[in-house]
Subunit: 565 residues, 2 copies
């Protein structure tokens, strides 16, 4: 008799429930709920493009709507399916997406006084209001706690936990003062499902705590009080109301509460696994193992590897986080990423592509792809930087912006579109190069996420730029599948699950299509990558010093050579 | 009894006839003829965006259509008008736009064997196929004839006479070999009107010969045979079939031929003045005098000043040409310019502005303007270089291209549109600065051309960037008016014209609107100009050496300050 797990995936604009067959990873049913609050699920501020918040009430509605709908679908496609065969639920979310809570673990924005106050909501991963605080944290750590910086790539990000809490203290003192504690939503949602949200009882995942909250066993947990006081007097007292222990994702948080079991139509025996960030769970759903780089390509990109405890591992400058157990217990998780990929294409399509390429964004996307696929590398003479949303790896700097050069009076939208894809491909190669330079070989690249499935052009360009095959994960919902895998491990073999993540992955994951690099294109892209690096290092680093005079001329020379054939 | 002159203006896409009252410059009637050949009047090549040619047959049709139509209109608006009162015709054209001709002065492309051969047509000013030849000419002159470079700003341009002829010799040897001579169209059209087109009799204008053909009395006319042979063996023999003398534009070429007088319905007593380039004549039509910078703002920009013989004048590096008498006899003409202005905006509107800003280019232009006018300097965080068509002054380099940086995921088309206007404003300021640095004070700026009239946003931005009032010429057709002024001077006082250009200008020209700089905006633009210069010098000069790390950060800081108010 088949057993099932449910992966709950909380994205930037919507959440999803996925019902998975534990035996072979078959995805039996899936249901999506777009968050009703804000713009595409995000609370924004027209006066401040850096602000991005979320309403946690949307998550609770989303769980109920999608789980019940997915269970209904599962019964339709598999007549022998019964909710009684569901053994576990796993949860993945965006992150670092912290939220202030009261002493009972209730979100502050659920209280009358803080309703509609964005500072009392979820500070979404892509909120960049805290860039000054991030700089302050980097500077302070550099001065008095250099060890904090060594495993996070040298620079603390405005997307992370402490930057956001500190910014809240600076700009919304009332919210900060009223908060008893702060929680990552990947820890809060499993706690809600088991019915125990008290901040001091809630199980915190090492995945979220790791580099985002600067948590490490090396310094006994979170940063010490003295350091926090150095950031801002009064911040130190928060430490005692946070946490001293963390858990890897194979662990169980507990069983589904009776209230939620009833609401969802599931047995109360269902085990809820410790939560984790979407990228980490996605990497597991894509079959991550040592030597495999998993790229999750969506609005932004996460690049994940794991490295066994048994082998030495150096710090990798500019790589956001190396955390023990953040992906799989027994391995260091290595996390890198690009802060804008699909978001950049969507920005371009929504703002700068006229209707002759189609009326809807999907039509424009299709038309641009088919026009751009015929271009040869270098033919447009364009070169772009993929920094419209800053640069996460290897520069770790949100105070960067987009750049495009090489435009003539003949430049067409599909040429720019291709240049933007290429820019993200060059950014991807910069990450691979950096990881390998520091002794971690990349033997295989497995891609997942919306764009890996949707854009054959993007995948081929990435193969050509990197000179490596680009494999695509068999599953189209790897974060939710990964959450399901952890649910199967947390539930355990005795109820039909697995003993280890590796065992579960073997049964439940695999790759499909592989895009092979074309040698001629790869050679052309080598030249363009050299120029990309010149711009990248020039605009992105303090160290760079040199001339830029060659850039436009080299691009024109390459263009003319390509056009002549 | 009123006397009249006709200004014939040959532009990039169309030609125009303007009937002007000699007494006060009143523009009585005007008629435009779009050239029927090619795309918007330009023969292009999809495989080579540098190519731009023109069919001279279009000019001949255009003269007949527009002159007869303008005369018809003049009779309608002034019942006492009669063609018998027309005393002169002046001609201005684009340039350097040379054309190969046979021994009789007939365009080679009129012959059966060269029909439809773009190399046998007019090589339009904006043809950039000859960039390698331009570099060769600069290099050769630098080695053996440095004096040739000193008055053309140090670099020979691919837009000019010898680059084009040399490129023709390289890529279309049959055309080069079949050509008896080459003529600028500003010399050929007046010759056609008087019925004497033999290459050795045709009066060549000093305006066109000046820096474009490297003609100077200092070295007895055109470059010597040895120099031409050094460029390409066999080129030297062409020199003897070109010219040894040139004429300023106050001179008469002769009287209208009987054939043309009949065709146009004009008396054969009409004097035809020596031709000149549109920018030079436009400057006269805008009322140029010492201390006045005339900016002719259209698809590209020409910036013209005159400097009296009585005062010393240094070479001005990067300023395209200083030629004695090129604008007005008795003055040095100083010519600078930007190779893409309106063309860049049109490229943006035609390619990258979606229909929500309007359906037609005019609607989009209007909508972008009204959206962009509300932005404050620095508010968008964007910065662009105005090099989509290369840079004429002060870099004199066609092997440059466009650049835009500062894009986020929130960047809107009207913000980019404003950034492109600002880029051209910064380019304009770079020219003013350069001219003043070398001892020529700019006391007044008078603008003319389509954009000066059409875009109040552009004019205000230019005033704010430069910190100077931007006056706009009263006439909307200054090149044609300038051609009329020269016609009145060439015809002379005895038939109702004038003795001198200054006398004619006093009666026939004037300014209208003036845009005053706003101090607060000017201060903000000073900061942005500093960053523009950093990119300008970085990407545009070999000498620049430094860091670029500040650029994106400074723009974000300025943006945040402006948004906070």
């Amino acid at each position: 008799m088949s057993k099932y797990v449910i992966g709950l995936d909380f994205g930037t604009s919507s959440c999803r429930s996925l019902v998975v067959d534990v035996a072979n990873g078959s995805e039996v049913a899936s249901s999506v709920f777009p968050y009703p609050s804000g713009t595409d699920g995000v609370i924004v501020d027209v006066a401040d493009p850096n602000l991005a918040r979320q309403n946690p009430a949307d998550y609770l509605v989303g769980i109920e709507v999608t789980v019940t709908d997915a269970l209904r679908q599962a019964r339709e496609v598999r007549p022998d399916f019964t909710p009684q065969d569901v053994i576990g639920i796993g949860v993945d979310t965006t992150g670092s997406s912290p939220m202030p809570v009261d002493a009972n673990g209730q979100p502050l924005c659920f209280e009358e006084g803080f309703k509609n106050n964005p500072a009392a909501m979820v500070w979404l991963w892509k909120d960049h209001t805290s860039y000054a605080e991030a700089a302050k944290i980097t500077e302070t750590a550099s001065a008095i706690r250099p060890q904090y910086l060594s495993r996070i790539g040298g620079t603390y990000s405005s997307e992370w936990w402490w930057s956001k809490i500190l910014h809240c203290k600076h700009v919304a003192k009332d919210v900060f003062d009223a908060s008893h504690s702060w929680v990552e939503i990947c820890d809060w949602i499993p706690a809600v499902l088991v019915g125990e949200v008290s901040p001091h009882l809630l199980k915190r995942s090492v995945c979220a705590a790791g580099h985002k909250a600067l948590y490490s066993d090396s310094w006994r947990g979170l940063p010490d009080v003295e350091f926090l006081e150095a950031l801002s007097p009064g911040l130190g007292s928060l430490r005692a109301r946070l946490y001293d222990h963390t858990f890897t994702t194979e662990n169980s948080v507990g069983h589904l509460s009776n209230a939620w079991a009833e609401k969802l139509g599931l047995p109360a025996s269902v085990v809820v696994a410790v939560g984790a960030f979407d990228a980490h769970m996605g990497a597991v759903g894509a079959g991550i193992k040592p030597g495999t780089l998993v790229k999750i390509i969506g609005t932004s990109t996460c690049d994940i590897m794991i490295h066994p405890h048994t082998q030495s591992l150096n710090d990798i400058p500019g790589v956001c986080g190396i955390v023990d157990g953040s992906v799989v217990n027994g391995f260091f998780g290595i996390e890198a990423g690009q802060s804008g990929v699909g978001d950049i294409f969507l920005w371009f399509i929504n703002n700068l592509v006229p209707e002759k390429y189609g009326v809807t964004p999907d039509e424009k996307f299709r038309d641009l792809e088919s026009a751009a696929v015929g271009l040869r590398p270098g033919e447009s003479g364009l070169l772009a930087l993929d920094w419209n949303n800053g640069n996460r790896t290897v520069l770790v700097d949100v105070r960067l912006s987009g750049l495009i050069l090489g435009q003539t009076l003949q430049t067409k939208p599909h040429e720019i579109y291709r240049a933007l894809i290429e820019a993200t491909g060059f950014g991807a190669l910069a990450i691979i190069d950096r990881i390998e330079e520091y002794g971690v070989p990349v033997k295989e690249v497995v891609n997942c996420g919306g764009l890996a499935i949707k854009s054959t052009l993007l995948m081929q360009i990435y193969a050509d730029i990197t000179g490596r095959p680009m494999k695509v994960s068999r599953s189209e919902q790897t974060p939710a599948l990964g959450a399901g895998i952890f649910a199967a491990v947390a539930a355990g073999k005795h109820v039909g699950g697995y003993d280890s993540v590796a065992e579960a992955q073997k049964a439940m994951t695999g790759t499909g299509t592989a895009y092979m690099p074309k040698e001629r294109n790869h050679l052309a892209y080598k030249e363009l990558y050299r120029l990309y690096r010149q711009l990248h290092d020039g605009f992105g680093t303090r160290q760079w010093n040199g001339t830029m005079h060659n850039v436009m001329k080299d691009l024109l020379t390459i263009r003319d050579q390509v056009r002549r054939g």
